[in-house]
Structures are given as structure tokens and as C-alpha cells.
Homo-oligomer: 283 residues x 2
């Protein structure tokens, strides 16, 4: 069992990881080995103390070097659920289960709110994770909604196993030349199900398929962590980054504005210290 | 009148200044042109995101370069009082007065608590600021208590104008060869006054002089900002770094643990954003 699980590899997660490493805790860090896709696309950051007028790419490079030199590993798995047990947490990644005494969630902020029916059918016709659930729908027709360029590798993967892809990109300059792929334009408003078929509903059309992948940069906290208290889309925390669930902390954009790197690293640091205090209280 | 006054040049103040500059606000920043004496003495920082295993000196150099390149000025004056007026704040530096619509206090954390009588006689026989009040006591006998090496330049200045200095250093390897200076060892417990004479009281002796300078790295928030709500020595703030006084924000070690650079820069950023929201609400 891990002392702490950090979920999310934005700068809040990074800050928490550096502090837990320094405090010699046994932790697992879920996220992308590239850290955050968002950072690398930022043009210029001028108000981060210590990094003088850097591009997002330069910032990302420094951060990657820092975790390499600190010997910190990122576990590249998509967390699909965090469940409170007695005195610990179970973290589900597709079919795999991990256990930790405490959790720090750094989910970032949702740019795309769930549409009608999305949460209702999540796990039964709707999936957030291409690599987790893709193989279940091998040789079937898939509808893939994506909010960001970062998912194109996953869509590539799906296109290799699907009989057909209906691709709904919600961003500019999307790659569209995947195998067996039809590009659908427009913003979906609802997800419906009839028998075994799923329908992504637009103003002027309905797209039928066997599964709908909703690939989004951030997942709604309430979906990922059943029982967590949310206020206006943000996780409710106090000054120590404590949530309403004992031993579960939150940091970064998911706790609210300002959406700033400096604020996020500060909270990652606070959450790590709070987790360590919590661990000490268990003894 | 300034939009914002930042008081304190530790990393929380730095972070607030960088963000206010980016947001194009008209602000004044009080502190030391060297930023923080404390930082330069830190051996190694390994958990600050973006600066890989730096010494305090290296960190300080980066920060100094950053404010130089951002064209940010530090006003090297010691703030001796912050007073809430109607819709603005008056900031007193010795005899000089500044005005700002809002204030961010980044006072650091007090390592030395006030002793008995200290606050009572502050301004009438006790002073926190050698450069502000030194000349008032020219050719008189001065007792100078100092908590840190950083004040040796100020003591040098006092020794040039005093008839005699009774020097009470509370740190190791103190410079002691000032002009007309007697070194007193021990920890004072009380300050008394009899007529025009001040007495610094020790367990085994009382040192008589015309004035007592208490030179300490951080000043008690309640002394500097009359009316501010303090909890266990820390300024009480909410998640937006708001204090109980409208338009007055606090950030960094003065708001409580963890005493970490990463936490402090996060709060400096938050406080700057909160000040900007407050300014917008005034319109």
C-alpha cells in the first residue's frame, strides 16, 4: 500500500511529488510522462518566480529534467475512479487497482462540461479512456469526441481496431486522416442509448455507434471521486487543501481560480504537507 | 495614490509583484533591494518546481535578475505602520507617508517574540528601525538588540552617531568591533522605562540607555497593522488571502505553515489576483 497517490501530472501534481520525495514518502504518481499537454502550448509565462519569461515548452523541459534528476517516476495510467475504503483509498485504472492511505487529486480544470446523458451512460456505452476500453469494442463502430490535440495518438490506436470511427474534434487543426474515419463537425448536445446502440445527438443529426469515447483533458471531480464535495465545478478545499473526505486532498486548477502555475505549485506543496500530517496522525 | 502596496520582499512579495506587473497595476513594493536575507543563507532547496536543486544564493540571484528584467523597483524603506483609512490605506515609513488603495502584507514569520514592555514603549523609547529613528538619538547612549547578521550595516550606522552602543546580538559570529561598542551577552526578558531612561532587563543585570533598538527580521503583524486579526501569531486569511480588513491581503509565512517557498509564491500570486479583483470592485 502506498502512503500517497497523486492523481494528475500538471504543475500541482509535480509540486506535490517533489515535496513527498523530499519527505521520503512512498507514493505513486498517475499522469502523463510528458506532464501536462496544456503547458507545452503556452506561449509565454512572465510571472512565475524563478523562471524568467519562459515559453511553456521551456517550462515543461525544466520540469521534466527536475523529476528525472529527483528520480521520480510517473505511472502512465488513466485513473478512472477513486473510492474511499476504511482507512485507505482504492484507485481504479481501467481493470487495475491500486491502494493508498491518502490521495492528492490534481485534476486540472474541465474545459468541456459533461453533456446530457454522458454521466448516466459512463461505463455502459460511454468511456473516457481509449486505451482502457478500446479493446472491448474491437471491430465495432466507435464515435470519438476529443477536446484537444493531445488525444490524437489514442485516436490513432482506436482507428486501428475499429470497424469505423466517427470523429468529432472540438479543436482547430485536428488531424483527420485516420484509418476508416469520418469527421463529424458540430457540438454534440446529448448522449442517448437504444438497445445496444449509442447515439451522439447534434442539433441537426444523430450519430449511431457501439460506443462513444469522450476524450477530454480534465474529468469532472464528482465523476472520478464519488462523494467529493464540489462547488460550482471546483473541489471544495480549506486552506490546508483538505477536501470533505478524510485523507483526500486537492490542489491546482481543480480547486478554483486563479488558474495560475504559481498558485498551483503552492497548493501542491500545501497538499503534500497536509498528506504527511495526515499519515502521521494514523500512527 | 498607488493601486497596491506590497510590504515585504520575501518570495511571496516577489510573486505578488511579478503578477501585478503583468497585470499592469500601479504598485509600490517595500522591502530590501537584496530581497530576503533569509534566502541567501539557505543551503539547498530541492522541492521548488522549476529550480533544480539550487542553493539559496542561486535562488536569490535568479529572483534578482527576474525583477531587474521585469523592470520592477523595490523601495528600500522600512514600513513602520499600515493604517486603514476610508477607502484606502496609509503606509508610514518613519516620517514618510504613502497611500494605496489596497495592501498585500508579506511579513515573513517572527523568529523572536516581543518581550514584556516592548510593544508598550514602541515609539517612545523603543524603535524597530535604526535608519528611521537613529538621528533622533544622535550623541546619546543606545542599546541595540539584533536577531540577525543582516542588521550589522545598520548597527555600523548607529555606532557612528551614538555616544555609546550596548550591543546585544542574538546570533552566532556577530561582528563586534563597532565604534564605542560594548557587547552584552544574554537574552533580555523585559523593557522598562524610568523618566527619560530606558532599561533592557536581563536575569542578572539591567542595561540603561536613552533608546532601545530592537532589530528583528520580521515584525509582529498586529504591531504593524493595527486592527488585523491574528491567530496564534499568524495573520488570519481565507483561501483568497483576504484578511479581516477590506482591501488588505496577506501572503507567505506570515499566514502560517508550511513555511515553504513554493507555498509562499502561490499565496503571493493569489493575493495579487485578489487585490486586482478588489480594485475592480471599487469602480
Amino acid at each position: 500500500m502506498y502512503d500517497v497517490a497523486i492523481i494528475g501530472s500538471g504543475v500541482a501534481g509535480l509540486s506535490a511529488a517533489l515535496t513527498l520525495k523530499q519527505l521520503n514518502k512512498n507514493f505513486i504518481w498517475f499522469g502523463s510522462k510528458k506532464l501536462s499537454y496544456k503547458i507545452s502550448n503556452v506561449e509565454k509565462v512572465t510571472n512565475y518566480p524563478g523562471l524568467i519569461s519562459v515559453t511553456g515548452k521551456e517550462m515543461q523541459e525544466v520540469f521534466l529534467r527536475q523529476i528525472r534528476e529527483a528520480n521520480i517516476e510517473i505511472t502512465e495510467k488513466q485513473v478512472t475512479g477513486v473510492y474511499q475504503m476504511t482507512g485507505s483509498y482504492s484507485i481504479l485504472c481501467g481493470q487495475e487497482m491500486f491502494e493508498a492511505k491518502s490521495v492528492i487529486v490534481c485534476l486540472g480544470v474541465e474545459s468541456v462540461k459533461p453533456i446530457k446523458g454522458e454521466l448516466e451512460y459512463l461505463g455502459s456505452g460511454v468511456s473516457y479512456c481509449a486505451t482502457c476500453d478500446g479493446m472491448i469494442y474491437k471491430n465495432k463502430e466507435m464515435t470519438v469526441f476529443s477536446s484537444s490535440k493531445e488525444f490524437e495518438e489514442e485516436i490513432e490506436f482506436l482507428s486501428e481496431i475499429a470497424s469505423k470511427i466517427n470523429f468529432v474534434p472540438l479543436y482547430k487543426d485536428a488531424k483527420t486522416d485516420f484509418r476508416n474515419t469520418e469527421v463529424i463537425s458540430g457540438m454534440p448536445t446529448e448522449i442517448k442509448r437504444e438497445g445496444k446502440k449509442m447515439y451522439l445527438v447534434f442539433k441537426d443529426k444523430e450519430i449511431e455507434s457501439d460506443v462513444i469515447f469522450m476524450l477530454k483533458s480534465a474529468v469532472s471531480p464528482a465523476v472520478l471521486v464519488p462523494g467529493i464535495e464540489v462547488d460550482n465545478g471546483h473541489i471544495k478545499v480549506d486552506r490546508a487543501c483538505k477536501t470533505n473526505m478524510e485523507g483526500l486532498f486537492a490542489a491546482g486548477d481543480c480547486t478554483g481560480r486563479p488558474y495560475q502555475y504559481t498558485k498551483a505549485v503552492g497548493e501542491g506543496n500545501i497538499a503534500a504537507h497536509s498528506a504527511v500530517s495526515y499519515l502521521a496522525s494514523l500512527k
